[in-house]
């Protein structure tokens, strides 16, 4: 456990432990729900953007990607929506690891710090490339 002020990280507080548990619980419940929906073959609610405009939105396929991930099929998830699949895997992995990380007294990242200036352009580029992929494959 690092004391505050050492580098960019601080020791875990009770509030950070609560966030870690909330993260773990949210990801866990969402994963169980997605697994159940995938196993029962329940269709998603559809995309309003696609209904109105006729082309997939940048997050089309995200629902099916989440269900595929819950069925332990990362390849199918990636093909449904690459960007959302990577985001879901990252977000879920951190959510599952966070409570264990804090339980071991490890330092937590400082979420007050801003990201480098190139992050936003890169993020926009990734969203654009992901959308082009969905437009090409039909979502």
């Amino acid at each position: 456990m690092n004391p505050p002020g050492r580098g960019a990280a601080t020791g875990p507080t009770s509030a950070q432990r609560q966030i870690a548990c909330l993260w773990f619980g949210a990801v866990g419940i969402a994963a169980v729900a997605a697994w159940y929906l995938g196993a029962s073959g329940t269709a998603g609610p559809g995309c309003v953007f696609r209904s109105a405009v006729g082309i997939p939105c940048p997050s089309c396929g995200g629902y099916r990607a989440a269900l595929a991930l819950a069925q332990a099929d990362p390849v199918a998830a990636f093909l449904w929506n690459p960007l959302i699949s990577v985001g879901l895997v990252t977000f879920s992995a951190v959510g599952f690891v966070a409570p264990l990380w804090l339980a071991r007294g490890r330092a937590t990242p400082d979420l007050r710090a801003g990201l480098p200036g190139w992050t936003l352009p890169v993020l926009l580029l990734l969203v654009l490339l992901n959308w082009l992929y969905l437009l090409r494959t039909g979502g």
Binding site: P3, G25, A26, I84, V127
Partner: protein
Amino acid sequence: MTNAIPPPPPPTTPPWDTPPPTGGGGPLDPPGLEPIPWETPGRPILRALFETVKLLLQQPDAGYARVPLHGDFVRPIAFAAILGWVGATLSVLYDALIPSPFSRIFPGEHEGPFAGSVLANGLIMLFAPVGTVIGSFFSSALIHGALMVLGGASRGFGATLRAICYSGATSPLAVIPILGPFVAVLWTWFLQVRGIAVLHGLPTGKATVAVLLPTILCCACGAWLWSALLFSLFAGLR
């Protein structure tokens, strides 16, 4: 052999994890302001809930300025859970009486779980608090990510989570006939913008971009995904 007294054990609580010295404000809280009614100890729950909803709807800036930025998240999360249950219950009851006109505008898209069976509606009301809390967390994570990209997350993830949890004060607006849920969504966005602006000390423009960026980029992929999962779960029970 000596009878030396062993040194005292180290404290189990790290020094930076101690509560703030005063009952109301922490180091980041504005001095001299009484906490928001929901976070004032000893106040009756229903009265505190009503006063907080009224304050946030009528004076969002003044309300958010009184939200403590220290301590745990039990009260903000409980606020979101209770108001989420209120909103879901109102929607279920209202849709049982008057079908939503949006189901005619988008057939097959919005004729969702609220047109379902008694079992589905009962489960919606039962799990609405948990669903609301999880949705609030996912929304907070997305908006905080946008804040970090924009360089405005100065008060940490806790401030973002509190702003989103207290934006649930708009849930009772679901009682407004026909347009209630639509008004509630717009007002929730407004409250989120004000909450992010006040709690992170940001200009309104930057807070607006942070709140809307996930929606603009990916249809609010994280929060939307959770809504889609909930929708499908309850729609499957019809």
